[in-house]
Subunit: 367 residues, 2 copies
């Protein structure tokens, strides 16, 4: 099965192609785009070892001149220094305005390659080949690119749209299960905030925690509907002035939990799962949605092998302090995205601190 989602933006259009086994055909697809013949491939050592040569062969067989730069794996390398390294190889290989940078990796490689391509010669072509589930359904779509400042995540960046996003679900076979679940958290999120059909299909599946529990048709369906959800939302709000906020569902408390545990103890998806659970409980308390819907959400989180209890180490007042410091706070009020139905959320800054406190207290493993 192959599906193509065409993203139409006011100044630019591109395709998201979801095609099993397509990695070795990247060269062909690229040739169709009529871009210049110089290509710079960016990856990390693990991913390059699995897939790098295949991509290079495919590109070279179509006549592209391919240089590559391998950056160390890990969020801690998503910084200006890595961007400088990309610039250096771009220069050494005489990349021109017509040239293309290709990201072969998860969100970290995608965000960095996107930013380097946004700023080299004030913007060159850019192709995303996401290799993690999270990158496929989330990071590779929407045009946000960037790196971290030592003191804060994603503070430096640019909007820059790709010319192609190529998703080959087979690549997921080598993805560690914990990373798979991180992507699944975002997929469940799309079910809650946007797409009832996606939610229903997830409910029908017995297990969502690892790739081999999921039939390949279902996996294709999940990828297609998730990408479509993200495309729908970001296309309506390209520069993040309104609607895009709903993508932060589960991320308000999620981010606080992530940062308080130093971004190491939990994956982003594990923190998001905790955040979605908490948002559901808060919404029940405010009379915005039903216990039954909340249980349906939480059943998916569980099937994805994600936990909903707070890590023991966390102090609840500290979480509440961290919420206040979040960059999404306006005039001291924490903005929550709360569910009102399956497939629908509301944005509100009227959540009483006592409600947050009570919900978080109920999420401790011990009392």
């Amino acid at each position: 099965m192959a599906s193509i989602i065409t993203v139409n933006l006011p100044q630019h259009s591109y395709d998201i192609m979801i095609v099993p086994g397509s990695l070795g055909r990247l060269g062909e697809y690229m040739a169709n785009l009529k871009l210049g013949n110089k290509v710079l491939l960016i990856s990390n050592p693990i991913i390059f070892k699995h897939y790098g040569q295949k991509v290079i062969n495919s590109l070279e067989s179509e006549g592209f001149k391919v240089a590559h730069q391998i950056l160390p794996a890990g969020e801690q390398y998503k910084n200006p220094n890595s961007i400088q390294k990309i610039y250096d190889v771009a220069l050494a290989n005489h990349l021109e305005r017509s040239s293309t940078m290709i990201a072969l990796g998860g969100g970290v490689i995608g965000d960095m390659t996107g930013f380097a391509s946004a700023t080299w010669l004030r913007g060159i072509h850019f192709i995303q080949v996401p290799t993690s589930l999270l990158a496929m359904v989330d990071a590779a779509i929407g045009g946000k690119t960037g790196v971290n400042h030592v003191q804060g995540k994603n503070l430096i960046g640019a909007f820059h749209q790709p010319d192609l996003v190529l998703i080959d679900p087979y690549i997921l076979r080598t993805l560690p299960s914990r990373e798979f679940r991180a992507g699944m958290a975002e997929i469940i999120k799309y079910g809650i905030i946007w797409d009832t059909e996606l939610f229903a299909r997830l409910e029908k599946s017995k297990n969502l925690s690892q790739l081999w529990h999921i039939k390949s048709e279902l996996m294709d369906f999940i990828l297609q509907y998730s990408c479509q959800a993200k495309v729908d939302i970001v296309s309506k709000d390209e520069k993040e002035t309104g609607l895009r906020t709903i993508l932060n569902y589960g991320h308000t408390i999620g981010h606080a939990v992530e940062s308080l545990t130093g971004y190491t103890q939990l994956t982003h998806g594990e923190a998001t799962a905790i955040g979605m659970f908490a948002a559901g409980e808060i919404a029940i308390k405010l009379g915005m949605w039903t216990k039954e819907n909340s249980q349906r959400q939480n059943a998916l989180i569980e099937k994805a092998g994600l936990k909903t209890k707070l890590p023991d180490s966390l102090n609840i007042s500290k979480i509440i302090d961290a919420l206040q410091k979040d960059k999404k706070v306006k005039e001291g009020k924490v903005r929550f995205i709360l569910p009102t139905q399956i497939g629908g959320v509301e944005i509100t800054d009227r959540v009483p601190t006592t409600a947050i406190y009570e919900v978080l207290s109920s999420m401790r493993t011990r009392d």
Copy 2:
């Protein structure tokens, strides 16, 4: 006299205000734009000493919270390291999406502040207060921002449009004459490539080499018509895919001469003057324009106190080599912008190397 040029781009509009004595009213103008109340002012030590406090007072009296960052003067500091310093103060002062960075300086400060504002939080507001003549009529307009890579000028950058360009001609009083003439070279360029009326007014003036030789009404006229010329050209070609190329008139040979003399011996304007003279001579040789028009151009160059002879140190074959290496070269052919009339140029890659050689030879001071 005050004039306002409104720049209408598909996704953004802003004003260029040319108002003598307006520097102390920046706060008022900014208040009208309804931007957030946090401001980061970027300048260099010389300019900040003259004008920094005046700008800060004006902003603070309108309730803005102003932080500032002073970067060392000079093209050699237009690099990623200076951008990192801007990020650091942006973080320390909690700049938000609604906040504004203000460039108070020449093109160097303008390009860097523009790039930092383009990439901090993926783009925040940006105001240009150009203080050099070149920045007023050229660098501050068009949305090109960026810094240099150690191995090449302006290789790193982004397109980012300002929310306001405030031009106070009085600021030019402290500008060194050599820098004034650098700006005048670009103004003469606009006369040749675009605007016959501007050209005619320049012809009527006795001396164009220093501010105090020019009546203030004429100076206002020059600023207004030059800004309008740049706006016309860049608005028709926001992302530099075609028409903008004509802005490189005089810059083909100019750049070669600049880089071969290490960017220190000549100002950019001095190199451009040499380049415009050479382009005129080449155009005559190719039968594209008349000796008479060429002499009219060269008379302006002379009135601006700019020279048209090559520096003694330069070897002509080296200039021709450098032309071949220029980034504007496509498939080994040097692209020239050549005049065909006063107010009109053509782009051509069919200039025989012998013609370039002969013209450059005639421009030596000794034989």
